[in-house]
């Protein structure tokens, strides 16, 4: 009798505890099982975790400049010297319909003056990008790909890139040129084989 009373007193707590323990085991089981399944997936491939632009897909729409989460975009113009024609009349350096080939403001393509050039020998000029000034607008790239060898191209500077979980530029890129890449292919360079 006494025992029964005790049981009755205890029973609601026991039931609750029992339910709780059961659910805890179910929850734990679910967590472990899904974790295990996903872990099998996680180890299956080489890690493609960095964002990079495929220069052959890029259309230089200009969104790289405006849509990066950084105030000054992590996208920069790169230059493949081995592809460059070293032309005097450079489509990336001068505005179209340029009248005189000098560095006057009305003739220059780059809005921030990030492209500089140096005379090599007649008639060749070497072009260099100052990445600190570059805003990734892609104007020079457009000029170079439409009128030149396409040696200028846009790339994400991996040092500046914040490695967002979802790249804000990739989300608006009209040609889907931004994809995840592995560490070994952190850059898609044009003078690379």
């Amino acid at each position: 009798m006494e025992k029964k009373d005790k049981d009755q007193l205890k029973s609601p707590m026991d039931r609750r505890d029992f339910l709780r323990t059961c659910s805890a085991f179910v929850a734990g089981g679910v967590a472990v099982a899904s974790g295990g399944l996903l872990a099998a997936k996680a180890s299956a491939k080489e890690g493609e975790v960095f964002w990079q632009i495929d220069p052959y897909k890029c259309t230089q729409c200009g969104r790289c400049e405006t849509d990066c989460v950084l105030t000054v975009s992590a996208v920069k113009c790169f230059h493949a010297n081995k592809v460059c024609g070293y032309c005097d009349l450079c489509g990336g350096y001068y505005r179209p319909n340029v009248k005189e080939l000098n560095t006057a403001a009305e003739n220059m393509m780059c809005p921030t003056g990030a492209i500089t050039r140096e005379f090599v020998e007649e008639p060749y000029f070497e072009y260099t990008i100052d990445e600190d000034l570059c805003t990734g607008c892609g104007k020079c790239v457009k000029g170079c790909t439409s009128f030149g060898n396409g040696s200028l191209f846009l790339q994400i500077d991996q040092e500046k890139c914040q490695q967002c979980n979802e790249c804000a530029i990739a989300r608006v890129c009209p040609s889907d040129a931004i994809q995840r890449v592995s560490n070994a292919h952190a850059y898609k360079l044009k003078d690379h084989a």
Partner: protein, 435 residues
Amino acid sequence: MRKTLTILIGIIYSFQAFAVARFPKPDFTSGYQYPNIVHSAPYELFWNILDVVLLVGMMGLVVWAAYRKRSRTIILSMSLVSVLYFGFFRSGCVCSVGSIQNVVTAAVSSDYHLPWYVLLVFLLPIVFALLFGRVFCSGVCPLGALQELVNVRNFRLSRAVSATLTMIPWVYLAFTILYAATRSQFLICRLDPFIGIFRLGGDLGVMSFGIVLLVMSLFIGRPFCQFLCPYGALLSVFSALSWKKLEMTDKGCINCALCSVSCPVDAIRPPQDSKTNEERKKGVKRIILFALLLPVFTLAGSVLVGSQSDALSLAHKDVYLYEMLLRQEAQPELEEPLEVETFHALGGDMEELKAKVDGIRSDYSFYAYLVGALIGFVIGFKLLKLSLKRGRKTYEIDMARCTLCGKCFNYCPQNQSTRYTISNRKTIKNEKTIS
């Protein structure tokens, strides 16, 4: 710091087949050498390992501080470390909250790569929640830590209102899953209110929202964690079932109610008589009614959200492009959006796109029904839970809500006396001011 490692571009490489090569490679006669341009490499695995180690270490510390030491100071210093390291230094990516999306995407699509550390970042807080409650929220999550550090005072919302508002994270979670499963977008990353603050720049609208939330958290405990965070909602399920339960003191509750007033997230439940002035029969009837209504709610949610799958699918880039193309075809006089222009310029095939869009739409209709059911079920379940009566004798911590901030430890007079016996006289003064 990431500069430490750099990669070198080789000198002898052949031309890429794609290069346009309108102008021949110059023949330099002056012995000109091509310059070696060095691009900085992305940061190495080292940082990911450090992230995970710190995550585990800090959660361990919080557990120790909360369960053993009952010290808010340690938890607060953890918060500071978290905001500085995970927030400002690592600029917030990848965080456990956002990792939900990676995990969901990896679970539904075979070609998506889920890095091991993202999986750990997702799973570890859940494991800890199952053992000790929402340890992660306490002082490890940079979003929660930031609000915790800023908080100075608590003006609490009415309990009924906050109970209703806790449905928002579930809806948010449901839509996050929908968009991640259909590979449309990472909603959490887009709407993360504090990432802009950590990065000192970002989308202006989202950043202003973050600032508003921070100003709110001066006077309301953790508004984001309580009423928005989808990962918090997920963790609350596990922490409600946690193995260990946090207690304010070892010495037994004296029902002084100080802890309950101190709690910023309203997680401390007062003693309650299981009897109410309502008839028992009525209560039982209500429980049965809500239990029966649960599948109805689930179904209704499923149908309501599922019926919107076409509209929702516009969040996917390709579907949106397709709709824009259709609109452009119907009204060619409109100015062409950039997407449409690029689509044509790249010689995109409408039929191919249509097939793709149809695939996405069918995905959407499946997942929309699924997450709709989730929303309906959560609402139904919440209603059911709200109609359960439960009595308790003393103040108890509701582990589902508790974020282990440790405020209540300092408030509990039982703890004060412990300190009094152990350490200095300063606490005596404190105690006097209280009493």
